[in-house]
């Protein structure tokens, strides 16, 4: 394995992640019979926002301004920890999976603080929901990773994902498959997708992630948008690594398969979003507990 592969993966993610959002939107548009926005719309948005000035609420402090920057920095570090299928991560060490989860926690912590800093009731509501749902998604993620650690006898994400093979995924006990289902739910939750959160809603009362970032503007909002795209990528990579168990010895084939998997995941997400209704808010925890149960079941199955 050459050192070029991880670097290329990070670069691909940096460049291509907003495209994932474009693909999801396009698929949703097609499914509902519309033409949809250009595939590159996310890029246009980010560039346009970067070129604007900013408006800040008089209530806010430095915490509000720090939120988007901390979030982007955290997700960038997380990107260097996550492998894409057979392509290892830039940084890999025993326990990187805990650091990965903690970095996402740092991002969330500051987003929630930034939302509460505005003093808006709506943003408080979004913050409250975000922290509630992620508190349940985190055990699902970590228990799932523990099940994978048990299956592969590895404690670092890169070698762990390198071990995954087609045979392992379709193994009769189905543990890896269960983990994949749990990760899909975590992926949808953490990226504020249906059926947990509707990224397109225009009612503040029903939003979760979008309402948290209502007050950001200009470059800050550009950071937020880019962070969302990258978060989609890093969490998607965890899922794609299982769902696309292509491990050749050629790194460029692995990378290609991984990137193709990411876009396939974007298409699947678009289809899921078009075909599913949003869960009632009080039912979301149950959905997330189901994810925890899937992860836990997988772990119990591999532990016995």
């Amino acid at each position: 394995m050459t050192v070029a592969a991880p670097i290329l993966h990070v670069l691909t993610a940096l460049v291509a992640s907003p495209l994932l959002l474009g693909v999801i939107r396009r698929v949703k548009a097609w499914m509902s019979g519309r033409k949809g926005a250009p595939l590159l719309q996310s890029y246009y948005d980010i560039v346009r926002l970067l070129n604007k000035g900013a408006v800040y609420s008089r209530t806010t402090t430095w915490v509000f301004r720090a939120g988007p920057m901390v979030g982007l920095a955290a997700v960038l570090v997380a990107l260097t920890l996550v492998p894409l299928g057979g392509v290892p991560a830039l940084m890999r060490f025993q326990g990187d999976l805990v650091l990965f989860a903690a970095l996402l926690g740092l991002l969330r912590f500051f987003y929630v603080l930034a939302a509460l800093d505005t003093g808006s009731a709506f943003e408080g509501m979004g913050a409250s929901r975000e922290i509630q749902f992620s508190a349940l998604a985190e055990p699902a993620l970590l228990l799932g990773l523990a099940a994978m650690a048990r299956t592969t006898h590895e404690l670092s994400l890169s070698p762990m994902y390198d071990e995954i093979s087609f045979d392992l995924v379709i193994a009769p006990s189905g543990a890896v498959m269960l983990v994949a289902v749990a990760f899909l739910i975590v992926f949808l939750t953490e990226n504020s997708r249906l059926p947990i959160d509707d990224p397109n809603t225009h009612l503040e009362l029903t939003m979760i992630h979008e309402v948290m970032v209502l007050d950001h503007s200009g470059p800050d909002l550009a950071f937020v948008e880019y962070t969302s795209a990258l978060k989609l990528w890093v969490l998607g990579a965890l899922l794609v690594g299982i769902a696309v168990p292509v491990r050749t010895d050629l790194w460029y084939l692995d990378l290609l398969a991984g990137v193709a998997g990411m876009f396939a995941l974007a298409v699947v997400t678009g289809i899921l979003e078009s075909t599913m209704a949003r869960l009632r808010l009080s039912r979301v925890p149950q959905f997330l507990v189901a994810a925890v149960v899937f992860s836990g079941l997988a772990l119990v199955l591999v532990l016995r």
Binding site: G124, P139, D215
Partner: protein, 665 residues
């Protein structure tokens, strides 16, 4: 080296007594008490540093002691637990002097300072004692000194109630310790640690000793369900005392447990299980209750229950690792637990000092009455945000490091390649699930603290008139916050500090292996440093980028986007209670909250109210019925008390006769 600590104890006691004797000049008395504490703590530092580096030193003083000799010693384990006493003790003393100074001195300040200095001295004695009697003496002084400090505002009813609860809890705990030492010393005829009885791990004696120690020391550490004293006592104690009690004194329980493990020699595997279960229960219960609290200091006290639970889980993982002969699990569990001991003492005292500063200037502890404090108290607020990040175990701060190691220990238990590692995988499952749940809930708890109390608009006049505290109160917090950052970024060095202590906890046959595993773990922590450095430099880069982007552009200030409302007020802000409610609903069967609800009524509703109370079901459904049963029995035995001297003489005579008949008959 250990004599430095003796000197520290003497200086502490002397300055405390001096403070009392200077009662005619309160300002001087406070200064003597506080700066005496600082000097005493500084005096002890060389011994602790040497101890951390692995230089054990023991002294037997020529002084007679019942049941043994007056022997004291410092070893790496003692040093790990003495270090927070000195660091936090000194910083909290500076803070406390400033806080009492500016807050107006009502009582004679000499007595509280004697209590404070005696508390620090007693904790040092506990860590260096190598004789059961001396240990218990220190332990008792520690409990009594802190009791008097909790009693500080004794003219208030709830303070007295909290203090009495605390005293009763401490003495019940100490009773178990007396029994434990009696059992340990039964064969040896002396309570010197060097000769105390060693039992095989599986023997009933060892089991008994372990259980007594778990209850006795667990009461001090605040494990569930013997945590009930902590929320009350830490809430009413002065903030610098609460910082020491919650941040440092609770750790003495952990120290006692570890010392007993060392005394006993081997540990049975099920002890590890017990610690893991107790730790997981304390962690989850503690953090859930913390999230439910409306009172800032009470919330912090419950969060200590959670963090001590994490420490217990780490110890449990370590003990299981030793029992299985798995050096990696043992090394990671013990190292994680000890690092978390150090880290928690820093950020918890930081948070208590910060909370104290807020209470000091706003005179309210209710989170929902605060808001906008960060703008008015920039330094205090920023330090508290650092503390909140650290306690939520977020990188690159120190709280993350200990939890990472415990996580890794549990993951090792799951993923280990050899059969040994898989012997008890279920407890790893328990640790992992509990830690993951705790970290999510801790994030919720501390976003609530920071987001509601520090950010947004002030919700009351008191919060609006908050102002920054004097430098003497801010400086200790800044130091503690800096230490949190440094120990986080310098994680490999922090691990080095507890290395010797971890090795002293592992049995001789495993030391080489564990040592090798610690070197490996250090390698992994280097990556955490790298990641943290990368994060900070990226953050710096983004700040520059943003500044460059916004240069020359229009940056305006306006109101918060109000979603179309015409007149938003600060009372429309989300409150802490509503922020936490959705998560708490999931745990309602544990919390058993009570709510009063007055629904809006009619076409033009004028009055509506919802009031949630966080209860303590362990008291309501556990202890209160038991104590009420005692009270009932006692009430029915009151006829014995007639108040006539003749009756009492009759009792004595009757007892005598019964004894005589029993002995001679």
């Amino acid at each position: 080296m250990v004599l430095w600590l003796v000197a520290a104890v003497l200086v502490l006691l002397a300055s405390g007594v001096a403070a009392v004797s200077l009662s005619t000049r309160p300002v001087v008395a406070a200064a003597v008490g506080a700066w005496g504490a600082v000097v005493g703590c500084l005096l002890g530092l060389p011994a602790v540093v040497a101890g951390l580096a692995g230089h054990a030193s023991a002294v037997t003083l020529p002084w007679s002691m019942p049941l043994g000799s007056l022997s004291i010693a410092i070893d790496p384990l003692s040093a790990v637990f003495a270090a927070p006493v000195l660091v936090v003790g000194a910083l909290a003393a500076i803070y406390g002097q400033c806080a009492t100074h500016t807050g107006g001195i009502r009582h004679n300040p000499g007595w509280p300072w004697l209590g404070y200095d005696a508390l620090l001295a007693a904790m040092i004695v506990v860590t260096i004692a190598r004789n059961g009697v001396l240990f218990l003496l220190g332990w008792e002084v520690m409990s009594l000194a802190s009791f008097f400090l909790v009693m500080n505002d004794h003219d208030k009813d709830h303070v007295r109630r909290a203090a009495w609860t605390y005293l009763i809890a401490m003495h019940l705990g100490t009773a178990f310790l007396f029994a434990m030492f009696a059992r340990l010393g039964a064969g040896a005829g002396s309570l010197d640690f060097a000769v105390l009885g060693r039992f095989a791990a599986t023997s009933p004696e060892a089991t008994l000793v372990f259980l007594l120690a778990l209850v006795g020391f667990g009461t001090k550490a605040g494990f569930v369900p013997v945590h009930v004293w902590a929320p009350d006592a830490d809430t009413v104690a002065p903030s610098h005392v609460a910082a020491v009690m919650s941040g440092v004194m609770t750790k003495m329980g952990i120290y006692g447990l570890l010392r007993v493990f060392l005394l006993l020699g081997d540990a049975a595997a099920w002890w590890g299980w017990a610690l893991v279960v107790v730790g997981a229960a304390s962690g989850v219960v503690g953090v859930t209750f913390a999230l439910a609290q409306q009172d800032l200091k009470r919330l912090l006290a419950y969060s200590s229950v959670e963090n001590l639970g994490i420490v217990a889980m780490g110890l449990g993982v370590g003990v299981l690792g030793v029992a299985q002969g798995n050096p990696a699990v043992a090394a990671l569990g013990f190292a994680g637990a000890l690092l978390h001991v150090l880290n928690h003492s820093l950020f918890k005292s930081l948070l208590f000092l910060g909370a104290g500063a807020i209470v000091h200037v706003t005179a309210t502890k209710r989170i929902d009455a605060l808001g906008g404090v960060l703008k008015r108290m920039p330094t205090t607020g920023a330090a508290m945000i650092v503390g909140a990040l650290a306690i939520s175990a977020l990188p690159p701060l120190n709280g993350f490091v200990g939890e990472l190691l415990i996580y890794l220990g549990a993951f090792q238990g799951v993923a280990g390649t050899n059969d040994l590692a898989a012997a008890w995988p279920m407890r790893s499952l328990l640790v992992l699930a509990a830690l993951a749940l705790i970290s999510g809930l801790a994030a919720a708890t501390f976003t609530k603290v920071v987001g509601i109390a520090l950010l947004g608009e002030p919700r009351t006049k008191a919060a609006a008139h908050a102002h920054e505290t004097p430098r003497g109160m801010r400086a200790p917090m800044v130091v503690l916050a800096t230490l949190c950052v440094l120990l986080g970024l310098g994680a490999p060095l922090a691990l080095e500090a507890v290395r010797q202590a971890v090795l002293s906890l592992t049995p001789g046959a495993m030391v080489a292996d564990v040592s090798a595993r610690l070197v490996e773990a250090r390698g992994q922590l280097v990556w955490v440093t790298v990641g943290g450095g990368m994060f900070l430099s990226l953050l710096g880069g983004l700040m520059l980028l943003r500044r460059w982007l916004l240069k020359g552009r229009e940056v305006t200030q306006s109101g918060t986007w109000d979603c179309g409302y015409i007149a938003p007020t600060e009372r429309m802000q989300y409150s802490g209670a509503s922020f936490a409610e959705p998560l708490l609903r999931l745990f309602s069967s544990l919390l058993r909250p009570t709510a009063q609800l007055v629904l809006p009524n009619g076409l033009f509703p004028t009055y509506a109210k919802r009031h949630n109370d966080a209860n303590e079901p362990f008291v309501d459904h556990g202890y209160r019925p038991i104590f009420q049963a005692f009270a009932w029995v006692a009430a029915h035995l009151r006829w014995v008390q007639r108040g006539h001297i003749q009756m009492y003489v009759l009792y004595i005579a009757a007892t005598l006769i019964v004894l005589l008949v029993w002995k001679l008959g």
